[in-house]
Amino acid sequence: MKTATKLEDAAALIPEGAVLLIGGFMAVGTPERMIDALVERGVGGFTVVANDTALVGKGIGKLVTAGLVKKVIASHIGLNPETQQKMIAGEIEVELVPQGTLIERIRAGGVGLGGVLTQTGLGTPVEEGKQIVEVQGERYLLEEPIRGDFALIKAKQADYKGNLDYALTAHNFNPVMAMAAETVIAEAEVIVPIGAIHPDAVKTPGILVDHILEGEL
């Protein structure tokens, strides 16, 4: 059983310099209220692991604008010119990872695997400095697991056990990230009674979730 956590209390859990896994794809499926609470609090120096940095003024873009991001590990930053400017100015370090590799690296971190063996990135700059492993005569890049201190998750529904489901393309990185952080904070559109989400509809079992955010009343 969990009680809903106040936004400011959730934000206060996250220390300077934390590694944050943040769900979302161009801000779709990103926990906006949690982002706002972090901007409000103003503690930063974060390493953000996410598919992208959204647009200026949306989702992770708000953390970038507020100067709370020290490093970004993402597959794409092209639609947020501010991230690009800060990268060029040396204010933000950016590590670019192919999208399919990024999600598998986070999954590996979450499910206790030693890494990902993929052919994506072979023969490209992504290969640099990485182990190559040969399996059945084929070459694969070894990509290392990623884990976060916190995962900031956006769900459709949460129940008071912390069970989550997700909506349409707002799934994206969320269910995988919910397995790969020490502390998981989930923001749902609505919190429902225990039992209201059918066991077959639960996509993140509640035991993975540490805090559910209070709703908008």
């Binding site: 930053i77 092209g78 690009q84 999208q99 399919g100 994506t120 023969g123 349409l168």
Partner: protein
């Protein structure tokens, strides 16, 4: 017909019944406009849907239903929501029959560069590397030259997207197939001649005795 329409119409002819197809942003997404009605095809958007249904018409918007460019879209009956791990599992695992992508350069090996111009454009590769490494067929759709400068070159000078030969290059001037022997000129655009294609291409082209015109 402008260049983009020629390309989109010609790519559409490659889409076959029963396929799962991923279309890149921009020019590739225009392909949907030219599909025959009797082709039953499912589109995937790598951000998480099988059964993409085109841009959302007014009144049909859902903030949680977007394509890989972040635009509001619809879903067809029988669509499925998938998370990013499943989405790229489909791509990497050989379940995606075709991807159509834009290109900056393609070379004689059939290798594509389409994600970065060092020092100028570093947006990130997004899903492009997985798509080119994983899809069963990779179709590069692009205008033949960049402001007159050839894009089909002996060897890519830009960083590669994948170390894998693409299936087909479709431009407004030509359809070119990378093969073991090199780049073969398969078809000509509505207004192009063999000489013009050769002129606009620095890569060596293999030119069969007859090169038909695109049957648009």
């Amino acid at each position: 017909m402008n260049a983009k329409e020629i390309i989109a119409r010609r790519v559409a002819m490659e889409v076959k019944d029963g396929m799962l197809v991923n279309l890149g942003i921009g020019l590739p997404s225009m392909v949907t406009n030219y599909l025959p009605d009797d082709v039953d095809v499912m589109f995937q958007a790598e951000n998480g849907v099988v059964g993409l249904g085109g841009s959302a018409m007014p009144g049909f918007e859902n903030k949680d239903l977007t394509d890989a460019g972040g635009g509001l879209v619809m879903a067809v009956p029988g669509a499925a929501s998938i998370d990013s791990a499943v989405s790229f599992g489909l791509i990497r695992g050989g379940h995606l029959d075709m991807t159509v992508l834009g290109g900056l350069q393609v070379d004689e090996r059939g290798y594509l560069a389409n994600w970065m111009v060092p020092g100028k454009m570093v947006p990130g590769m997004g899903g492009a590397m997985d798509l080119v490494a994983g899809a069963k067929q990779v179709i590069v759709s692009m205008v033949h030259t960049a402001k007159g400068s050839p894009k089909i070159v002996p060897e890519c000078t830009l960083p590669l997207t994948a170390e894998r030969r693409v299936s087909l290059i479709v431009t407004e001037m030509a359809v070119i197939e990378p093969t073991d022997e090199g780049l073969v000129l398969r078809e000509l655009g509505p207004e192009a001649t063999v000489e013009q294609v050769v002129q606009a291409t620095t890569a060596k082209l293999i030119i069969p005795e007859t090169v038909p015109r695109m049957a648009l």
